[in-house]
Amino acid sequence: MAELPNTTMANECKVKLKSKDDKIFEVEYAVAMQSQTLKNALAHTGCTDTALPLHDISSQILAKVIEYCEYHVNAANTISEKDVKTWDEELVKHMDQDTLFRLIVAAKYLEIHNLVDLMCKTIADRIKDKSVEELREIFHVQNDFTPEEEEQVRRETKWAHGE
């Protein structure tokens, strides 16, 4: 099992990633290490010139993931927590739903924990305080209950629907 034995090599290593649509992205080792999945993969292969294939992630989404990771690696000791938080908020503020969900799936697959958390919080904020009807519309959820079933579920959880 080839490993990256010392920091110098780690610093010089560039990691290649290939998106679903065959686009190659090159990132610094430290940036790739933000992903637990890539970390594990690289522990096995060592620093390699072969691009790691990410079969389910499009180039558009991968670019966003890399943008996030690069910012956070650079921000680590130089930018205040408050400013990092502002940057994160700007990133997601006007993000369309489609991108949001694709991004969370990618972040989950790559195991980038703070990106997953950021995405989840954003989704939770968009769910909060909305009625069931509004949620069905916004998120295109198909209501597959029979009227009787729906009535029963509402009864079981009637406190949550009150006032």
């Binding site: 997953v116 989704i123 769910i127 069931v132 597959d144 209950f145 579920v153 009150g162």
Partner: protein, 353 residues
């Protein structure tokens, strides 16, 4: 172009439960069960059940008489606990005013339920009560507790067969009546892995002795009756003492890692054992503090690098807000002289008479 895709429902179960629904107020999370069959049972696997102030207030409906409100509250919590799935990581209930006459039996049952579900984080806050609500014995059955927050209860006895909260790392007691020095000491002795302790407005504490091998942070706030504090906490890193007006003696033994002491609102203050490695000492004191004991205190810290004084009034001197670095000549004079005749202002806009 086909139907717009419902990507939200496509997310995996544990992402929806543990990462998204758990961030929502309980009401919103439970309401999601009506969205579709996929969502029906998801809320039952949320790892935390937090009955917050909002929940409490929504039970307090203007159209209901008080007894009905209590009934509604009990019924809803019972119902939710019953339907919720086996594991529960975090359970918090807030009881406010005026529904303060909560039936003790209910609380005991709910804690029992949480204990069975392996609860790790437990928070029971009674915001206002005109009657004594004793801590139910079932609390001591929550063996998996890692974090405990209690507010407004009355401490009775620790059960004789209590084996301790072996996983407890954080403990916060606020407005706990009848918590005496002995009882607290006994409890802490049974929580060997305790790391953070907060004691707020516990008025029966007088001579506090804390012996906790793993404690790294201790906060005392508004405990007006505490006169002395002795800490045998070899891992203590942070100490905060706020508004403990009667505290005149503080003894910190073996606290070689203590870096940070913040103190405010003291009465007169006595000597302290030498604490090596203390780097920052921050004092916000009020007029009664007399400076010789204060100097003794400061002199006990040979490694002090930063001494931050805010509004310390000595007999004939007012020291405004400033930071006095140890390397500064003025700081040396501060420590050497009793009357600070040549105190030079270094930073800030303190008033100096």
């Amino acid at each position: 172009m086909g139907m717009p895709i419902d990507r939200l429902s496509d997310l995996p179960d544990n992402l929806l439960c543990c990462n998204i629904l758990s961030l929502l107020p309980l009401k919103d999370a439970i309401r999601s069960s009506v969205l579709s069959t996929r969502w029906r049972h998801l809320w039952k696997h949320i790892p935390c059940l937090h009955f917050s102030r909002d929940f409490f207030e929504s039970a307090n409906h203007p159209d209901r008489v008080r007894s009905e409100c209590l009934g509604y509250l009990k019924h809803t919590v019972d119902d939710i606990l019953l339907r919720h799935s086996a594991e529960l990581e975090s359970f918090r209930i807030y009881f406010g005013h005026p529904l303060s006459r909560v039936n003790l039996e209910n609380i005991a049952e709910w804690i029992d339920c949480a204990a069975v579900k392996g609860v790790k984080h437990l928070g029971l806050i009674i915001d206002f009560t005109t009657m004594e609500i004793h801590i139910p014995p079932s609390l001591f059955d929550c063996h998996s507790l890692a974090d405990l927050e209690l507010g407004g209860f009355t401490f009775s006895e620790i059960p004789t067969d209590f084996g301790g909260f072996l996983s407890l790392k954080t403990c916060s007691f606020s407005n706990i009546y009848n918590l005496t020095d002995d009882k607290l000491q006994q409890l802490i002795a049974l929580c060997p892995n305790l790391q953070k302790l907060v004691l707020e407005a516990c008025f029966q504490l007088e001579n506090l002795r804390i012996r906790a091998p793993d404690l790294d942070s201790l906060k005392l706030r508004g405990c007006y009756s505490i006169e002395s504090l002795t800490a045998d906490c070899p891992r203590l890193v942070k100490l905060e003492v706020e508004d403990c007006d009667s505290l005149f003696k503080m003894q910190l033994n073996f606290c070689v890692f203590l870096q940070n002491v913040t103190a405010s609102g003291f009465g007169s203050f006595g000597g302290v054992c030498t604490v090596k490695f203390l780097k920052t000492l921050s004092f916000m004191a009020y007029p009664e503090i007399s400076h010789p004991p204060f100097l003794t205190l400061v002199g006990s810290f040979p490694d002090l690098e930063e001494l931050k004084l805010t509004a310390i009034f000595f007999e004939d001197m007012t020291v405004g807000k400033m930071v006095v670095p140890r390397q500064d000549v003025a700081a040396q004079k501060l420590l050497a002289h009793t009357k600070f005749p040549n105190l030079k202002k270094t930073v800030g806009d303190g008033r100096i008479r």
